[in-house]
């Protein structure tokens, strides 16, 4: 006969070392086992969708940076492609290549931090994290070269990007691409077959394929459950149809698979970057677009495969110089839909790992 204890309401967050920002959960625990959980959102709700209605199309670009602040360029890219689709703006060839390079660099940064903090949650307090942070800093320097900023870049524009690459950029990126595979091998040697990692993450927090689709999960979370769905392949935006890369998928959908998918995506991003660096043409990087322009009346939904999943911008224009309505389909928020089902029945220490393996960014969850 199982021993029952009195249920306790346990509060986690919003200020908590493992909630990845200001996320909060109210857990009902029986002893150490979670019997029910309620995620509480909104501690970083900044009203970005309302602010979009008060700003011109161009003025809104810097605000998109602050959605998923780990990968600002991806947010920029999703927004500018949506407005370009709405207004029919052409982008020069070189700018498309630069966009792909930036997007993949951001994916590497985000996955490095995601994997690093996942191991933090598992108890390897900050050692793998800081190893990965070394590489993140190298990439941050590259992005600083092109944009002058270290975190929130505001680099993309309608019709291209704000500046051309400096001369030092491509050689520096090449050096990084040469070094990085060995670095990934180093992480793998340390962590992939580690006894504790296997014991704590295998078969923990399983998300079945049906549940993944039903709960609108996307990105690495969806792919770890075995669904081969990547918008870069399914609906190629920018020039992703020119690159050769694979979609890594998991088989079980547990925390370990989500970690493996992210590591494999690091390698795929390096593959894309190598092809992009080899193929980047010369030419201009920005087609002139007036500062205050008025797209025609209508609506558009445009999506990209961001580091967290499907990032979509639904822009509705009434013909004026401001968006009439702008809705952001945030992958971080929707990946949390299944959280309740994933956590129920696990112990508190496992819940922290499962939550960490989803890899959210609260700026995007709450907007």
């Amino acid at each position: 006969m199982a021993i029952k204890t009195e249920p306790i309401l346990l509060n986690l967050g919003p200020i908590h070392p493992s909630t990845h920002g200001v996320f909060r959960m109210r857990a009902l625990v029986d002893g150490e086992v979670i019997t029910d959980i309620e995620p509480v959102f909104g501690y970083l709700h900044r009203g970005i969708e309302k602010l979009a209605e008060q700003k011109s199309y161009r003025q809104f670009i810097p605000l998109t940076d602050r959605l998923d602040y780990v990968a600002s360029m991806n947010n920029n890219l999703a927004y500018v492609t949506a407005v370009e689709k709405l207004a029919g703006i052409e982008v020069p060839e070189r700018a498309e290549y630069i966009r792909v390079i930036m997007s993949e660099i951001q994916r590497i940064i985000s996955h490095l931090l995601g994997i690093g903090s996942f191991f933090n949650d598992m108890g390897t307090f900050f050692t793998p994290f800081f190893y990965m942070f070394i590489q993140k800093e190298k990439l941050t320097d590259l992005l600083e070269m092109v944009s002058g900023q270290r975190l929130l870049f505001n680099y993309m524009r309608f019709g291209g990007v704000s500046h051309d690459l400096p001369d030092e950029f491509l050689p520096a990126l090449n050096t990084f691409l040469k070094e990085m595979p060995a670095e990934i091998d180093k992480y793998e040697r340390l962590l992939k077959e580690n006894e504790i990692v296997l014991a704590r993450s295998k078969k923990v927090g399983i998300l079945s394929p049906d549940m993944a689709i039903n709960s609108s999960a996307s990105g690495p979370v969806l792919r770890a459950s075995g669904i081969e769905w990547d918008i870069r392949k399914a609906d190629p935006y920018s020039i992703y149809d020119r690159f050769d890369f694979d979609i890594p998928t998991g088989t079980v959908g547990d925390c370990y698979d989500r970690y493996r998918v992210r590591v494999e995506e690091l390698r795929q991003s390096i593959r894309i970057l190598e092809q992009a660096v080899a193929g980047i043409p010369k030419g201009k990087v920005l087609n002139p677009v007036p500062l205050r322009f008025r797209p025609p009346e209508g609506e558009v939904y445009s999506h990209i495969e961001s580091n967290k999943g499907e990032l979509g911008f639904h822009v509705i224009s009434d013909g004026s110089d401001k968006p009439y309505r702008l809705h952001i389909r945030a992958p971080s928020l929707l990946n949390l839909t299944a959280l309740r089902k994933m956590l129920t029945g696990w112990k508190i220490a496992d819940a922290i790992i499962i939550f960490g393996s989803i890899d959210i960014c609260v700026g995007e969850v709450d907007r």
């Binding site: 959102f41 039903n214 309505r325 809705h327």
Partner: protein, 149 residues
């Protein structure tokens, strides 16, 4: 490419099931009656040809005269997408059925629309504010919302 299914295709495939629930047919979707949304959503999900099994996004918009909710679906197998729209004329107390029974992916998005636009989804297991705190006055994404500061 994720190809958009036109409204005509869906109306053609689901002629029997729709039974006059369609208000108008657009190039990339259909506008349907709010009360029938549950039946229609179940049809497009289970129809063998359409197989729109993935609910991508729900957007609510305030068009001054009415509120519009637009649902975007994908078919992951066929790589297609489709939009379903609903209009609510009653702005003082807008309500419509919830899709959480079919897709739990609708849960957080419907709460978001309730919070920011004030549309109540009947049948939702946890219909309360998601981002703003209890006691917040008004719904920010309504066009007549005033900031207060």
């Amino acid at each position: 490419m994720t190809v958009a299914i036109t409204g005509e295709e869906v109306v053609g495939a689901l002629d029997k099931e729709l039974k006059g629930a369609v208000k108008s047919v657009e190039s990339e979707g259909i506008l349907v009656q709010a009360e029938k949304i549950l039946d229609i959503a179940l049809c497009v999900k289970n129809n063998k040809n359409l197989k729109l099994d993935y609910l991508v996004s729900i957007t609510g918009t305030d068009y001054i005269d009415y509120l519009e909710v637009s649902y975007l679906f994908y078919s992951l197998d066929n790589n297609k997408r489709f939009t379903l729209k609903v209009r609510l004329e009653n702005k003082s107390n807008p309500a419509m059925p919830s899709l959480t029974g079919i897709w739990i992916g609708a849960e957080l998005q419907e709460r978001e629309i309730y919070d920011l636009l004030g549309i109540t989804f009947s049948g939702h297991p946890n219909m309360k504010r998601i981002f703003l705190w209890e006691g917040f006055h008004g719904h920010p994404l309504r066009k007549d919302f005033s900031n207060g500061n």
